[in-house]
Symmetry: C3
Subunit: 350 residues, 3 copies
């Protein structure tokens, strides 16, 4: 029953979103177009997540973990890819920022708060938290350095630095996967994210993965197409739209998954989803987008605005401070959400 509802939602929202895109005004105004496209993305991102997991299941534990770790944010990657293609670099960076802080503050904050309302204190593996925090420091540093040096660099030098840093970050991320899945697998994983049995056979999974990817691609292009007129209509800055609206839409899957884990008292898994997703975006998705931009003839650099850097830095520090002791309480969830709220208001007012 539940699955039929999902299938109908998935296909229905896809068709509606396509219709809204091709028919356009006056039948579909900017608001309707944006909302329909957002709903379609939420459905198809969920579908893509499920198919990735299913294919990962058949690929064996190690390869599967790798697939999950690199394509878990496939939806965000594809949305951003279309933004890069259109040269909307500022929106891309805003949505990267938004995805990082959305995962570290909103997803994690809601999980910790909701979990904390049920359990007085929740525990998780400090070792993993420590390593994740160090990696997050690397991510913050990597995004911070190009911006610090950009002022006295030429555009060319900044682009060079961005490309080199991107390559280094991808290598560091691959080594991290090797470390956490091969050499130190047992030390880090105390409680695994529950995956359950795959829903489909191997062949169907692969077929569905391909279909899901294609659908995400279409949906993403349609969503990106609605952005300009939508943000224009409400007088929203591209920064706010990218960093909050698109990021919340793109992270919908992480939200539900992390909160479910928190309510099952598997706070370690909730952390893995939220922080893992932030790491993936900053150490893998962002640099891949920089390299992808090379093929479109105009290099996207890694120079984030000072607002974005403040937001990412602030999110990383508060998340680190809270995860440090290996336990969480409801109030720590409140702290994360409060910081998210303050940042959201500041970005809204910009």
């Amino acid at each position: 029953m539940k699955r039929y509802g999902f299938t109908i939602g998935l296909i229905g929202s896809f068709i509606l979103s396509g219709a809204a895109h091709y028919i356009g005004a006056p039948v579909f105004g900017p608001t309707a177009q944006f909302l329909i496209a957002a709903v379609a993305i939420i459905f198809v991102a969920g579908f893509l997540g499920k198919t990735t997991e299913s294919v990962a299941h058949y690929a064996g534990e190690r390869m599967g973990g790798f697939l999950n770790a690199t394509f878990g944010n496939a939806a965000e990657l594809i949305i951003a890819f279309f933004l890069v293609k259109d040269g909307m670099f500022d929106v891309v960076k805003a949505s990267i920022t938004g995805s990082i802080i959305g995962n570290m503050l909103l997803v994690l904050g809601l999980s910790v708060l909701i979990g904390g309302l049920k359990y007085k204190e929740q525990r998780f593996n400090v070792k993993l938290a420590g390593h994740s925090a160090s990696l997050m420091m690397l991510a913050v540093i990597a995004l911070f350095i190009p911006a610090s040096f950009a002022r006295s660099f030429t555009k060319m030098e900044t682009a060079q630095l961005s490309v080199i840093v991107s390559v280094i970050l991808i290598i560091a991320y691959l080594l991290w996967l090797f470390f956490s899945m091969v050499t130190h697998k047992n030390e880090l994983s105390e409680e695994a994210v529950e995956h359950g049995e795959p829903a489909w056979s191997k062949g169907t999974s692969i077929l569905f993965l391909i279909i899901a990817t294609v659908m995400v691609a279409f949906d993403s292009e349609w969503l990106v197409g609605t952005l300009e007129s939508f943000s224009h209509q409400y007088g929203l800055s591209e920064l706010f739209v990218g960093a909050f609206l698109i990021a919340i839409v793109g992270n919908a899957a992480e939200h539900s998954a992390a909160i479910i884990m928190a309510r099952k008292n598997k706070m370690g898994a909730a952390f893995e989803i939220a922080i893992g997703s932030s790491l993936q975006i900053s150490l893998f998705v962002a640099p891949v987008l920089v390299l992808a931009s090379l093929f479109f003839g105009k290099t996207m650099d890694l120079v984030f605005t000072s607002f974005e850097l403040v937001a990412i830095g602030v999110a990383a520090f508060i998340a680190k401070s809270i995860s440090q002791d290996g336990t969480t309480t409801w109030y720590e969830g409140v702290l994360l959400l409060v910081v998210y709220l303050i940042l959201g208001i500041a970005f809204f007012l910009v």
Copy 2:
């Protein structure tokens, strides 16, 4: 005997301070006026602290804790209130800064050093320290964000952001009190701050509380009145006067209380006084002053100067670094004091 001395000091300094205010030059020069007013404030702040505690005692444990936590810095709040009324926003912010760093560096540093000279190593509840550090991060972030965004904001938008952030901070602070006094009371309080028996009956306590508040109000106004000519006479900047002189005067009560606890090897209580006071100032006093300024027709924003932000950030980081392991040694007290000294010299030279 000791109490009589205090009573005489309290009343005598109050009268003298009033006389200095109304008679003025040539009998009382700027230096004499300032010193007399400062001594009067130290006495009356001590009196206000004692009466608050006594009323808190009769109000029952929970309500009493709440009273202590919100009105423990009543003297600072009242001083700042008069500064806000006079539109001296820069001095207010400087004194907020000074009070935060004074508590985190000077009060804590002296306690840790003096305690550490007596005991080789002193321990305290790491869990409380961890939560306090996270809250302090929130405070730093909350003061940092308006300043980061102010450059590209209009004055109006900055004021809006400051008011909204203030409301959020007050809510976050009230939730913290609910957390630390209701839902997680037992987890956090390992060793309570000793209060002892109240000195007066219930009725007398309330009467004295009212009297103390009125006296603080007068003394504060007189102190504020001396600032301009005093700082002018010695060529001191308002920043230095607000951040160091006023803050040291306002924190006198915390100093003696925290050091007494440290010498009794109750380092947890000393931390609670010093860090708790910093949190109260940044999460409660500062936002309340912003809201209060609305009633005087000119909004005080939360935009601190970069010097102040550096000072607050630096103080929070070194205090966090030192409290992290749940133990202190005399050298960590030295570190805190050294940072305070360096900041003091830098502010003096500005």
Copy 3:
């Protein structure tokens, strides 16, 4: 056998370096001069280290520890001294920066990585790591504050602040030695750096120490003399030469010592060498150079460029984050090296 090789290398490189200095072009081009001088420094720094250790051995445990702790970076100090004499303040500061980040990122990173390839997890005394991290925070703060305030200071005020801060830092460093070698010796030292038997008798050691110091002085002046034409030839900035080339040359001794300790699973000793050296440079060598500059008539201030501050801050944070839990793995070495690499590329491009 090994010792003969070292002696020949030491004397040979010294003579060659002198020849290169006095004969100069066209026999010795800028590259040859620089390389010869660098090799000579590496040999003589090793010699100086050995003689210091030997003299320290005869001086008794406490005095010896003090000698090691203050003159362990004698080579860097002497090189910098000649740079200060020539008024090359920017190169001095760049080499201080480079030495700090070189120790915290390159030396420590290589040790952690190489040790981690042999042992799955390496442990060390968390207490020492915690104190070192707090001290490093102080160092970062002390270098940060003059730069933050410099913009609104006159040159005179900045120089004043720098001198005062320098004196405070030296006192803080001496108190640290007193703390770690006298009052809390046993708490901090879990595993000592192995020194072994001294190679020479007491008299010979002192004689050799004097000879080594004189040789370092000559070699340093010759190395400094090659800098301008060498960096000019390859279009390298003084910042890059100072922060990377000179620093790597000057830290050669620490590199080999720390890695040897790491391979013996004495990670605590490796940390002590790397972090201890960083602390020595920032809390002792840098302020001593400021005071030394007073004698040459032109005060060197402690105002570092924002690039340098970013580099030092970033290095301190990632090193702190990694050392926090008292264990290291190979991946944490990778993280440190990645940050070093990114910084190196950024400085190279400046």
